[in-house]
Amino acid sequence: MSLIITAFAQGIEKSGIKPAEVCVPSDIPFEPDVVKQLGIDYFHTIRGRAIVFGTGLKLANLALKVVPVVGDLMTLGGNHFVHASRRNMELLVICVNNFIYKKIGGKSIPSTSPVFSLYSTFEEPFNIPHLGNSCGAIYTARWTALHTDEIAISIAEALNKRGLSVIEILAPGPDYYTGINNINSDLVKFYHENSEIKNNEDPRNVGITPEENIVVGKFTDKERPTFIDVYNAQLSKVIGDKFTPYGPVQTSRSGAGLGTGQNESGGKNG
């Protein structure tokens, strides 16, 4: 988790966005000192509802940059994720996925301590990039917690995108043995070593299965009108001159000279 927060801080810096404008609704408890250092507004929301809390924040004040950081994205919050993607709500969803699989790429997971996982071992986990993409998310990516540079770059890119972006980060969760703030470093290294970067891969093929290595990378990056764009367009069409567009006028933010290093083609119409 601390790796992710470091990457998050770097990402905000790279994106050129003021931390004061960033709001993070999350069901993961952040340490207060961390929040102070990041300079953001943090909301510890009820489980699974970070995305909809974020929707309320965003619609009430369009100038905010809302980044729901969710651990429990799919179990309680699955529906909210699907509908927010459909509406293309301007949110950056960071999903901290601590799924547990007994084997990956044919090799067993080193940790033998019992961990409370979101997915029991015989159920298949969700392919979050594919689900997000099929519902309309405009930017999907997945990294492991050790890919901190790539995470920072993804966050910086996604913060400047207009619409729903989702970045899935595979990170081992806290367990009874290592405590809530420590990370199981063997497990993190294991994920990192058994992952391969395949940028622009079709999200259908990036499901996590026990037989293959984990596929990470930036998968899709496209443009779609956001909820507010469609709302303003539709209402102006119907109401005409008497309609004042909702909220402050959105100026498009171009990326602040971001070199992604590993993917040259990261096209806007991916």
Partner: protein
């Protein structure tokens, strides 16, 4: 030549053993397609020769949610959006029961969306019949997640601003093993899909496009039920095996129907063994 017997024959409707005749006439509007979906379902149950004592039908809330009350099976009219969760409970507790969820687009995809994607992911053995009339009809015509863009509904009086969900694509990307779409005009094909899905192990979804003459069609000036059926006749195309990503339905656009997905995956209860 045999003469006709003069003994009076008892008049029996062919669907009587599947319908709760004491609750007929039903509440659905003239021109509504839900009755047709129920007919196809009843015909499928007969043809598939399934033991009716082992079928449970679960509905949610809404116009389509009333189906459970008219069908003579173990019927459950549950709370809004929780039909699939309820059905999961039945299935896991007693895997011998064939569970059918018969509900509407708002009930299954809006409030019930989470249960839908999880049951698909887990591949719980059930047949989900989603009657899609693009609106929340029972409560008076509000916008639904399947309502096409710019369409009028009471809670979007200036036109819908949310892109609709493509149900087959959602089911496919969550892991459903059988996904098909038909309209209430194509009864025979619908019946055949139901039969196939009833015999399939795993999470199957059949989307049934239906007219809603009281709200969707009337408010958007599309005519009545019959006009909508004519529209389905002229504007549908069968494309089996089509990539589910191409199955969006816009306002009065072409509707692509067919059986899109038919694959195998071990079902949830099978994995216990």
């Amino acid at each position: 030549m045999e003469t006709l017997k003069t003994k009076k024959m008892k008049e029996v409707h062919p669907m009587e053993n599947v319908l709760r005749m004491d609750r007929i006439p039903h509440i659905w509007c003239p021109g509504c397609g839900i009755g047709l979906a129920v007919t196809a379902f009843a015909a499928a149950l007969e043809k598939a020769k399934i033991d009716l004592n082992k079928v449970a039908i679960v509905s949610g809330i809404g116009c389509t949610g009333r189906v459970a009350g008219y069908v003579k099976l173990d019927s459950f009219h549950t709370t809004h959006g929780r039909a699939i969760a309820f059905a999961t409970g039945i299935k896991v507790a007693n895997p011998d029961i064939k569970v059918v969820v018969f509900s509407g687009d708002g009930d299954l995809i809006s409030i019930g969306g989470n249960h839908f994607i999880h049951a698909a992911r887990r591949n719980i053995d059930m047949l989900v019949i989603c009657v899609n009339n693009f609106i929340y009809a029972m409560t008076g015509g509000q916008v639904a997640p399947t309502t096409p863009l710019a369409v009028y509904a009471t809670t979007c009086p200036f036109g819908s601003v949310e892109p609709p969900i493509n149900i087959p694509y959602l089911a496919d990307s969550s892991g459903a093993v059988y996904v098909a779409r038909w309209t209430t005009l194509h009864i025979r094909r619908l019946t055949n899909s139901f039969i196939e899905a009833l015999n399939k192990k795993g999470f199957s979804v059949v989307e049934v496009i239906s007219p809603c003459p009281q709200y969707y069609s009337r408010v958007n000036r599309l005519g009545d039920g019959l006009d909508m059926m004519k529209f389905y006749h002229d504007n549908t195309e069968i494309r089996h095996g089509e990539d589910t990503k191409n199955l969006d339905i816009g306002f009065q656009s072409k509707i692509i129907m067919g059986k899109f997905i038919d694959r195998e995956r071990p079902s949830y209860t099978e994995r216990f063994d």
